[in-house]
Amino acid sequence: MTTAIAPVIPRSRGQRLYWTFADGCVIARGNLVHLARNPAAILNLLLYPIVMVLLFGFVFGSAMNVAGGGDYREFLMPGMFGQTMTLGVMTTMIIVANDAARGVTDRFRSMPISRAGVVLGRAVADMVNSVLELAVLLLCGLAVGWSWHRGLANALTALGLLLLLRFALIWVGIYLGLILTPESAGAAWMPLMPLTMLANTFVSPELMPGWMGALSEWNPLSATVAACRELFGNPGWGGDSWAAEHALPLAIGWPVLLTLVFLPLSARRYRRLDR
């Protein structure tokens, strides 16, 4: 074993930045290989949207009304997009909690890897995963008669808002993943699932009991979903409340706020793993 093993030790700011991205890419790549090699995850990625669209679009959908009228499946799809982005926080949380429990996080921390690179890798992998989820769901939607009606630019803006929400939730997921055990991270869908429904995702808040409707309208997820309905030209957007009338700014404001709160929190939590 006489090979010289010379690691690059970044000294300048530029080199550090370069290695942050390089580390991020290596970690993201490893995570994406996981996805590609895990048949259950792929099946889940494909099957979940199909089952949910069929279940809500046709089983429950037959009994659903949209406030202000309109086709329920047209109303449903933006809700499904938003819910899927929100539940993505589970993926982040579970992987972060598992890495911490299995000692992977410790190995990273004992290595000269940029801390930001580790997080960047996580973020890139999660975003790629979410783009795939969104693409599958989009195709499902088109298959059951959903479409966008206000041009491609608006439709792309809507997709951007959905991914913005997902991006914000990465920080929530990292923060919670560093606090929770893998078991409790896995159990988190229990409170999370109802929270994605206590919104305008599946039912118009106007049709809920007063207090519940108000709560639902202020759900950050509702802002994104309402803004998407508006941009796609799908039925069910608008309303009398301030939140419903300002869906678009809220759909940007909520994720920005979440990021501003949880990005520093998760960075702090990561730094404090040494306490």
Binding site: V26, V33, H34, G103, D106, P112, R275
Partner: protein, 353 residues
């Protein structure tokens, strides 16, 4: 300071109500294997975590490869490897992909990372399974892959936290051999273990840790002589023969045996293991003393630990004069209770987690 790979001075670390490290001192010379021996909850993992920059100590100072772990963690991280209690390898990737990934994360360029992965797979005996996914690996293979990952940069100091816990004897031997090879190649290894025989097999230096501090430190021979070394454990069939058997054993061992009349058992420390055993068996046979069981055995960790801490020996265990000397060195007042020797302290788990 250059001749020491690890120097810890008065390191303290507290988790809530638990004082995990309470004035931890240790020096490990460059190029040696040090076994950090102690029961669960003694502070072994906490010590490793402080030395590998994972935990910040409340007080004290620690230098690894010449750099202060608190002030220059980045420098330390380029010079150490860590294999934790659970192999932190990626199950979905193959062995080769794992090592290439870790190599890239150690900032080797792609070609070097690839070449290094190949070398390590050869060296750790994984070349034949290099392209299998790790989830199909045995426990020993996983551990070896984990060691290989810790060794990507051929670090000056390797930290191995209970590297053989949960392995069967064959897999354990594989890991032992890998550790020996690393030491032969010039790395300093600091490994924690709960097993005296493991430290005995691998280490040039054994540090016994209890309640967050090192209570004995030295070569395996020195430590063993401090605690009495091997012993003959004899059970006679008839309690009436105990006195005569004790005389025979005393003559052969050159030390007064400890008797446990209820179990018809006698225990005496021995130096010339086989000679003493042959003499005892022959002599007892000549005198017609029926022997139910006779064995040569090493002190268990419990006995070592209890004799070092001056606690009462476990039932049936010999309390030896040499052990008392060891206890005397610590000063009085330290009592080891049963809970500590049981080793399954809740605190220990939390500290390890």
């Amino acid at each position: 300071m250059d001749s020491f790979a690890v120097v810890a001075e008065g390191v303290r670390k507290r988790f809530g109500a638990t004082q995990a490290l309470d004035g931890f001192d240790l020096t490990v010379p460059e190029g040696t294997v040090c076994g950090l021996l102690g029961p669960n909850g003694a502070g072994k993992t906490t010590a490793v975590r402080v030395l590998t920059t994972l935990l910040r100590a409340d007080a004290g100072r620690a230098l690894v490869a010449g750099f202060d772990v608190a002030d220059r963690p980045a420098e330390v991280r380029y010079r150490i490897g860590l294999a934790g209690q659970n192999p932190a390898v990626d199950e979905i990737l193959t062995g080769r992909e794992n090592l290439e990934m870790w190599g890239r994360l150690y900032h080797l360029d792609r070609a070097t990372a690839r070449r290094r992965a190949g070398e390590l797979l050869d060296r750790f005996g994984l070349a034949g399974d290099a392209d299998k996914r790790v989830k199909h690996y045995s426990g020993g293979m996983r551990r070896r892959l984990d060691l290989a990952a810790a060794f990507v940069l051929a670090p000056r100091v390797l930290f191995l936290d209970e590297p053989t816990t949960g392995l069967d004897p064959r897999n354990r031997n594989e890991v032992w051999q890998a550790v020996r090879d690393l030491a032969t190649a010039g790395s300093t290894v600091l490994m924690t273990t709960q097993y005296l025989f493991e430290a005995d097999q691998l280490a040039h230096q054994i540090a016994v840790i209890d309640a967050g501090r090192v209570i004995a430190d030295g070569s395996p021979d020195r430590l063993k002589s401090m605690i009495g070394g091997d012993q003959i454990d004899l059970v006679v069939r008839d309690a009436a023969d105990l006195a005569e058997a004790a005389r025979v054993l005393a003559a052969a061992a050159g030390a007064e045996p400890v008797a446990d009349p209820d179990a018809r058992r006698l225990i005496a420390p021995v130096r010339d293991r086989i000679g003493a055993l042959t003499e005892v068996v022959g002599e007892l046979g000549e005198r017609g003393v029926a022997v139910e069981d006779v064995a040569l055995r090493r002190p268990t960790l419990d006995e070592v630990f209890l004799s070092l801490t001056g606690g009462k020996p476990a039932p049936g265990a010999g309390k030896q004069a040499a052990g008392k000397q060891g206890a005397g060195k610590q000063g009085a007042g330290k009592q080891a209770d049963g809970e500590q020797s049981d080793g399954e302290q809740a605190d220990g788990k939390r500290v390890a987690a």
